[in-house]
């Protein structure tokens, strides 16, 4: 039997009816009660997410930026100080190994470093990839900080207000712009706050020392934050049309097919996969990632076929019953000629034809951005 890894908040989840499941080798709460209630709490107030299972990789050496620049589809060297960028790690064939956040950080003195947040299920693979490409060199200064730290996402329209009224950090998080980050302190230990998230709401993600996680989490719960499990994290990100590795993304898909061209910078750069991607960038005839909406109640699940007439045009990659819109929604790949919003298709839901329509992504967009 494989022992599952536990986050520093494991005991809290257990004591608060968290339904724990194996997620990428971690024992994680999929929900505490109702997924719908956790979802709606995040859309209307503040949701708290233990995302400590995500991999946190640190690069302290003088060559860190140059090293990462050779592995990421977006230039690490051009990320301004204390900014975060969504990027991809691709293989030689241009296939997506992972989607990541890269942080370029400085503490105001001359100290400068990088952090990479990778998917839990890809952490071993990416660590191996880094080592295989020379990441063990002392001038890169690579270390895997996942187990020494915890990561908490605070998401929702009231998230920033609550955090600043609690004055948890010696900085006003409301002053951070979207995808801006700041090294700070929590409980006397180094911490990192960024205005990022995976829900479609405003909010932050916080990296803190593992031993300090419980006191931060409990403080946020006392301030009215609602614990949200991976179930609602999935419905929230799906409404916001954010891809999830293993569903919308995998090693046989390239960034253009995945509609992530914005995360690929080819001009004047060389990185693993860049020469293949330069050729792929010119190909227009590839499947497209689209949104689907259905009128009934039956949910198109991952793997279900999509048809136009008798033609099989694609496959569902993620589907749910949207708690916000109260109807089934899905993301899918379909052939380019069927990808225009408004296209009528049908989904084979366990043998019955259910009408669906291609719609523009995202399904959900919050009213104002920071």
């Amino acid at each position: 039997m494989i022992t599952l890894a536990r986050t520093p908040l494991y005991d809290w989840h257990l004591a608060h009816q968290g339904k724990l499941v194996d997620f990428a080798g971690w024992s994680m709460p999929v929900q505490y009660g109702s997924i719908v209630e956790e979802h709606l709490a995040t859309r209307s107030s503040v949701g708290l997410f233990d995302v400590s299972h995500m991999g946190r990789l640190r690069f302290l050496g003088p060559q860190a930026g140059k090293f990462l620049d050779g592995l990421l589809t977006r230039s690490a060297l051009k990320v301004p100080a204390n900014r975060v960028r969504y990027s991809l790690v691709t293989n030689d064939a241009g296939g997506i190994l992972d989607d990541v956040l890269v942080y370029h950080l400085t503490d105001g003195s001359s100290r400068e470093w990088y952090e990479l947040v990778v998917n839990a299920g890809n952490r071993d693979k990416i660590v191996g990839w880094i080592e295989r490409h020379g990441g063990s060199a002392p001038e890169v200064g690579f270390s895997d900080e996942t187990l020494a730290t915890a990561m908490i996402a605070v998401q929702g329209p009231l998230a920033i207000e609550r955090l600043d009224s609690l004055a948890i950090f010696p900085l006003a998080v409301g002053r951070l712009k979207y995808y801006e980050a700041a090294p700070t302190l929590f409980a006397g230990q180094p911490a990192l706050v960024s205005r990022t998230g995976y829900t479609g709401e405003d909010g932050v993600e916080v990296v803190i020392a593992a031993a300090a996680a419980m006191s931060l989490w409990e403080g946020l719960v006392q301030a009215g934050g609602r614990a949200v499990g991976l179930g609602a994290r999935d419905t929230l990100r799906l409404e916001a049309a954010m891809p999830l590795y293993g569903h919308e993304l995998n090693e046989s898909l390239d960034p253009f097919t995945a509609d992530l061209a914005f995360a690929v910078e080819l001009t004047g750069r060389k990185f693993v996969g860049s020469s293949t991607l330069s050729d792929r960038a010119k190909v227009a005839d590839h499947p497209r990632r689209v949104g689907l909406e259905l009128t009934g109640k039956r949910v198109p699940r991952e793997g279900y076929g999509i048809y136009v007439g008798d033609t099989h045009t694609g496959t569902v990659t993620s589907g749910t019953f949207s708690p916000t819109f109260q109807r089934p929604i899905a993301m899918a790949y379909v052939q380019a000629e069927h990808a225009a919003p408004g296209t009528a298709v049908w989904v084979d839901i366990r043998g019955s034809r259910e009408a669906a329509q291609v719609v523009r992504l995202p399904f959900y967009k919050r009213n104002s951005s920071p």
Partner: protein, 134 residues
């Protein structure tokens, strides 16, 4: 609405409950989903049930219940013919949560093979299964 007491029911491994009652010379089974299984599903959105008259062998799929998270098939715990269907239930899925052994019943079947009742668990055995395997 008739309410059954969970301690008196039989259970399948796939979490359907069965209440067997004599009606005329026949045995009629009322079938539902256990409170334990409903609590595991949470956030129900959709349910499909069969038509009256359908013949089901033991283990045949007779419908499905869909939640935000996943879809689950319903399996016939006995062999027989469907003689009644709770048509109100798909429109009132909350009955599955609030009254799983009463208003939350799914179908009634006239049992055509009495030996199909063999292998169903009593309440104690079912509770043990839930505790051990979920």
């Amino acid at each position: 609405m008739k309410k059954f007491s969970p301690e008196t029911l039989l259970y399948s491994e796939t979490h359907e409950w069965v209440a067997v009652e004599p009606v005329g010379g026949d045995k009629v089974a009322t079938i539902g989903i256990s409170a334990f299984a409903i609590e595991q599903l949470t956030d129900l959105v959709y349910m499909q049930l069969p038509a009256v008259g359908k013949h089901l062998a033991k283990g045949n799929e007779f419908g499905e219940v869909e939640s935000v998270k996943a879809v689950s098939s319903l399996y016939s715990p006995v062999e027989g013919d469907v003689v009644a269907v709770n048509d109100d239930l798909p429109k009132n899925l909350e009955h599955l949560t609030t009254d799983p052994y009463g208003a939350g019943w799914l179908i009634r079947m006239k049992i055509t093979r009495e030996d199909s009742l063999a292998g169903l668990m009593d309440f104690a055995a079912y509770q043990k299964q839930c505790a051990e395997h979920g």
